[in-house]
Symmetry: C2
Subunit: 284 residues, 2 copies
């Protein structure tokens, strides 16, 4: 591996992507048996310096980036350079994280559980809400932190043509990172939090900042999606789904633009109107 | 409160349901502002005998039953009769649980975290997987633990006509308990795990057993939905959504019947064919 900064090496990662779909024999309403593809789902137990941290249930598309993003978004590790390696081994369903110098206050950081909405009951260690005051997103008049209606349509079209496990097997959430309507990274997982964490891991590894980026998610705009986006400095989120009250409230507080029900040429802008260049369609 | 069994009193519960929707002003693709309803989402921090356990993000439809079901499904309390009261106060976003005699091995029971799929990263304390061997569902030839295609259509029709926050505001998951096509209990929440936990709380409180019941969920059939259903003794699950590989694998192992993509007169039976009386439609 060629290192750009030998003094600030990035983690060594395995590349343990696993098969993403699995075939089943099913019975339909016509009494016919047929074979269909469904998404894989596997347990991945994360060990940090040989201590068990958590078990994530994942599709397995990019497990190393998932673990990296999880450590980042849970605020367990301060810098990606503090991580020496992540080794995923599907034979034992484990991800071994080695840090360069250990994690300070590990027990304290993992002590508090906030079970977030999701479609489930997500775990966020530590007091993320308390961190919100320190978040600064770029100003709404910064051109790279705005989006026009035509760029939004370009983004939605890029998602429409993207090959995906969702198209072949359903039942997964997709998440993508855009710079205007240019797709930079796309990943799917059985849980949408895993998907966004994987994007976070990719950004961390490649030193990609969020201020001029846009998140796309197939999942809902709940409080923790807004918080995760804001923590990564991304000021705009686009979702195929809808929103909850707290997702809206936090976005208003933080100055994020939220677009939901976004597909083809339809969308609703829920917040951050100041970041949006509306180019209205003539009503039909 | 009239007690059927004065020696085995059920918990005293507040009835702190909160408003389920909230109005927002949004901007659409035609450049028009309009008002829409979105689901509420609020934090509920659960204290057990004054010790903080977890913060759940919830719609707030039935918070006491949610807490009750959470304690049950996390295996933190053995019997509903061990709980003296649950007091929910939205002014402080807290649920205070008082037990009659404390919880044995509280720290040990809450030490292990499994972050499950969901759309998020759910928390399941303890080693649920290890419990699977002890689960016994009713035999597949037991009439009350089977379903016919016409009863399935009746169930789907009952869900179709059910009034819901989903219809008015979207972005919530619904969960229901049926006895054949008779709807016994319906609840919605921002997270589908909260919805199923609320049903579990209702069953626990009212001493309703699962062997002759059917779960309906709008969410996907992931591993933990199957596990939660099996733990409550319910042998059949019907979902509007799809399935993941591990959800399927566990259902086969446990002998559950899973129906997905179920809406109107369409469905796929993924597992437990032996519990299903197929009455095929003529192909169109």
């Amino acid at each position: 591996m060629a290192l750009a900064h030998p003094d600030r090496p990035t983690p060594r990662l395995t590349a343990a992507a696993a098969p993403l779909t699995h075939e089943l024999e099913v019975l339909d309403e016509f009494g016919a048996t047929r074979r269909i593809a469904v998404p894989a789902e596997r347990a991945l137990t994360v060990f940090v310096d040989k201590r068990e941290l958590v078990t994530l249930m994942t599709l397995g598309a990019a497990p190393e980036l998932l673990v990296l993003g999880y450590l980042r978004n849970q605020r367990l590790v301060d810098s990606v350079h503090d991580i020496e390696s992540i080794t995923v081994d599907w034979d034992v369903n484990a991800a071994a994280v080695n840090t360069r110098a250990g994690i300070e206050r590990f027990d304290e950081k993992t002590a508090k559980r906030v079970v977030t909405t999701g479609c489930g009951q997500g775990t966020v260690f530590g007091d993320l809400m308390g961190e919100l005051d320190s978040i600064r997103l770029p100003a709404a008049d910064e051109p790279s932190a705005r989006i026009s209606q035509s760029a939004l349509y370009g983004l939605l079209n890029a998602m429409r043509v993207q090959e995906s496990t969702y198209k072949s097997a359903g039942s997964v959430h997709g998440c993508a990172l855009f710079k205007q309507d240019e797709l930079l990274m796309f990943v799917e997982d059985v849980g949408r939090h895993n998907a966004i964490d994987t994007i976070a891991g990719w950004m961390w590894l490649n030193d990609v900042t969020g201020a001029d980026k846009i998140f796309y998610t197939t999942g809902r705009l709940t409080s923790e999606m807004v918080i995760k986006s804001a923590q990564m400095g991304v000021p705009i989120i686009v979702s195929r789904s809808g929103i909850t009250q707290m997702g809206h409230q936090l976005a208003v507080q933080l100055g994020l633009a939220l677009f939901g029900r976004a597909m083809n040429k339809h969308f609703i802008c829920y917040s951050g109107f100041a970041r949006f260049d509306s180019q209205p369609e003539p009503p039909r």
